[in-house]
Symmetry: C2
Subunit: 407 residues, 2 copies
């Protein structure tokens, strides 16, 4: 597998565009379009929130129905959540507008939204935006970058990746872009991720690969513990690479799965590291677990702990908070067996042995925790399973972004 | 029921003391003692964290064993958690020291701790403190207040209450004190609550009343979602009021239960309103639920949401975050049936009707949310059950307290 430059337009046959349609103020990009010149198998995973935004319901019906699509339209100004029947109508209208311009069916257009909740879409602006987007579509790397920029809300930078693998004698590419937690108005954080590939793969296996991988990537990320009404991950596979279609598990499926995992993991980590107000990516790894489920529960509890996240913000080796977060996770383990380490580009240090603090240097620990990416590793010495979760520190800026909007 | 002045020394036969033993710096009070002149039925509930502090294990053994006690010794400097066998030994030593001075058995001395995790108790300081405390015991209101002050960590004020009821022809009193979430050093938040009563009640029924009531009071509070290793609620009943001993459910039990609930709810709300960095007590009430369990899950999810809490900090009527938090709570409900109101001393305003925003005044909503106690009421229109949870806003000061300790 090779990492290549670019994003969603790296695979064959994918075009993109990103524009400032006028939903956000001050000429900030707020609408993106993705288009494939060939029909795509479409897979998706969606928020588990009981409150689901209109586009989530729309996309889910497409993915679970025919499972094919040709385009995605996304706006980053209005979430179209809690908008009732009227909002559902505007979502359909958005798809229909794009479909007419692209000469495809409305049911081939997936829709993504993030932004203000409870507000109706400004349909005139959206319709004009869709028209501009359709005219601006391009398969250039720049077009992909514009789209990656246009889906952002409070993210501080765009997040994209592209990789290349060989599959059935052919060069196959995957590209991805995503946005992380943010809110542009008193609002809601949303995770949106769009992955493209020219691999030929059946919809069934594409969905299977995505559903499994999401558990180990996006679902292991927490910025603030609030699950959005709009979370959406979509993968479009158009088959233009010409590899023999993957229709069963085996070597090709595994290779594709690995590439998809690389893309998803990269994007998930980018979301964590660019969490609202974050100054550091915080990784929690639990090793020596009896089961993967146990390791996942423990590692996720660590990155979700407000107290631990505030300590990371302060570069403080506050191991008690980590052990405490493991303790209330719901997973069983023996606290008196735990070894704990901190690790970063500045080094690695052991903090706890068998549940009790070793005589470590606070100065050294603070140095290690002052890097942009820091890791806590807990060895619970019960077995062979492990898991990793990603989060970020909890900072003054998180409060500023989310509390002080009106002041 | 009548609210009276004072705290833990209000019921007959209870003495208290609070001193600066020297565990904390700068002559800040850090040790408290409670003593009953007569043997007490002792009930307790403890942290569900897998990682349990030594005093939690010590107290649990007493409560679940003989279920009787005469004294409590508490320090607010060192949590005595993650301290292994050595820490357990120091906990026992604390009890033994107090027992010798008070001429009771070590197994009649309950121990409470909060503060730095992973650090061993400074036994010389503790032993000297216990001696001073034993000599300072008094049944005065002032002594109760000193004890209530000595158990605090980052709390901004002491929390105590006393009530009086008539039971079996006698005046029965209950007194309580507690501390909320705080940390005095890079550390751990802990909830400790001690309730005294001169009611005559069997240990079995005392435990039953406490176990049930904790579910509706302390367990409905969240400051930051981190469950401490030291959380402890203890109730001591010495029977000196002379009422016929409550040994079965009935009118007397119900009256006692109601008084205990008043004390516990008051203390729980005090903890929420004095959460680290908090500027407001935030109450979430869910009504019209099918079951109490559903209402509790939904209301607790609201007060635990970082995004909602940050919005409360900003006096922002961000109802989308509340609906979102209800949506990911795990409880089922129909978002399109929800009515939502905000209420405070400044008035009451409807924000959502049937899941969609009504045309409310943002100015009016902000005014209502600018009070020291604010309430969100969600009517899910499915049934008759309701529940209330208490939390606080998430502020810059929460981050300052928990991140910037070293800077």
């Amino acid at each position: 597998m090779k990492k290549i430059s670019g994003g969603v337009t790296a695979p064959k046959g994918f075009q993109a565009a990103g524009i400032a349609a006028g939903i956000k103020k001050e000429n900030i990009k707020d609408m993106a379009m993705l288009y494939s010149t060939a029909p795509c198998a479409a897979a998706g995973t969606f928020t588990t929130n009981v409150v689901k935004a209109a586009p989530v319901i729309w996309d889910r019906d497409i993915v679970r129905g025919k499972g094919t699509a040709r385009a995605v339209v996304c706006n980053s100004g209005v979430a179209n959540a809690c908008t009732g029947k009227e909002g559902m109508g505007y979502c359909r209208k958005t798809a229909e507008t794009a479909a007419a311009l692209l000469d495809i069916a409305a049911e081939e257009v997936l829709v993504g939204s993030t932004g203000v909740i409870g507000k109706q879409l400004p349909m005139d602006v959206i319709a004009a935006g869709v028209k501009t987007l359709a005219g601006a579509l391009s398969d250039s790397e720049e077009a992909g970058a514009l789209a990656a920029e246009a889906i952002l809300t409070t993210d501080t930078h765009k997040k994209e990746i592209a990789v290349e693998i060989f599959l059935g004698g052919k060069t196959v590419r995957l590209g991805g872009m995503c946005k992380g937690s943010g809110m542009i108005h008193p609002n809601m954080c949303t995770m949106l991720s769009f992955v493209t590939t020219d691999a030929a793969i059946s919809q069934e296996l594409l969905q299977k690969a995505l559903s499994a991988d999401v558990q180990d990537t996006y679902n292991m990320v927490s910025v603030d513990g609030d699950t959005s009404t709009n979370d959406t991950v979509l993968v479009l596979a158009n088959g233009l690479a010409g590899n023999p279609e993957i229709t069963a598990e085996g070597e090709d499926y595994d290779a594709f799965r690995e590439a998809l995992h690389t893309v998803n993991e990269y994007l998930a980590k980018q979301i964590a590291g660019d969490g609202e107000g974050a100054t550091a990516l915080f990784e929690a790894q639990v090793v020596g677990a009896e089961s993967r489920e146990q390791a996942k529960t423990l590692s996720k509890s660590i990155v979700c702990s407000n107290l631990t996240k505030a300590a990371i913000c302060g570069h403080d080796a506050n191991w008690g908070r980590i052990l405490c977060a493991m303790g209330y996770s719901g997973a069983q383990f023996d606290p008196e067996k735990v070894d704990l380490f901190f690790e970063s580009a500045a080094g690695r240090i052991q903090i706890i042995a068998d549940g009790v603090a070793v005589d470590y240097s606070e100065e050294e620990a603070t140095k290690i925790l002052s890097e942009k990416e820091v890791k806590a590793i807990a060895d619970i010495k019960q077995g062979e399973a492990s898991a990793t979760a990603w989060g970020c520190d909890l900072t003054h800026d998180y409060i500023r972004i989310n509390a002080d909007y009106r002041s």
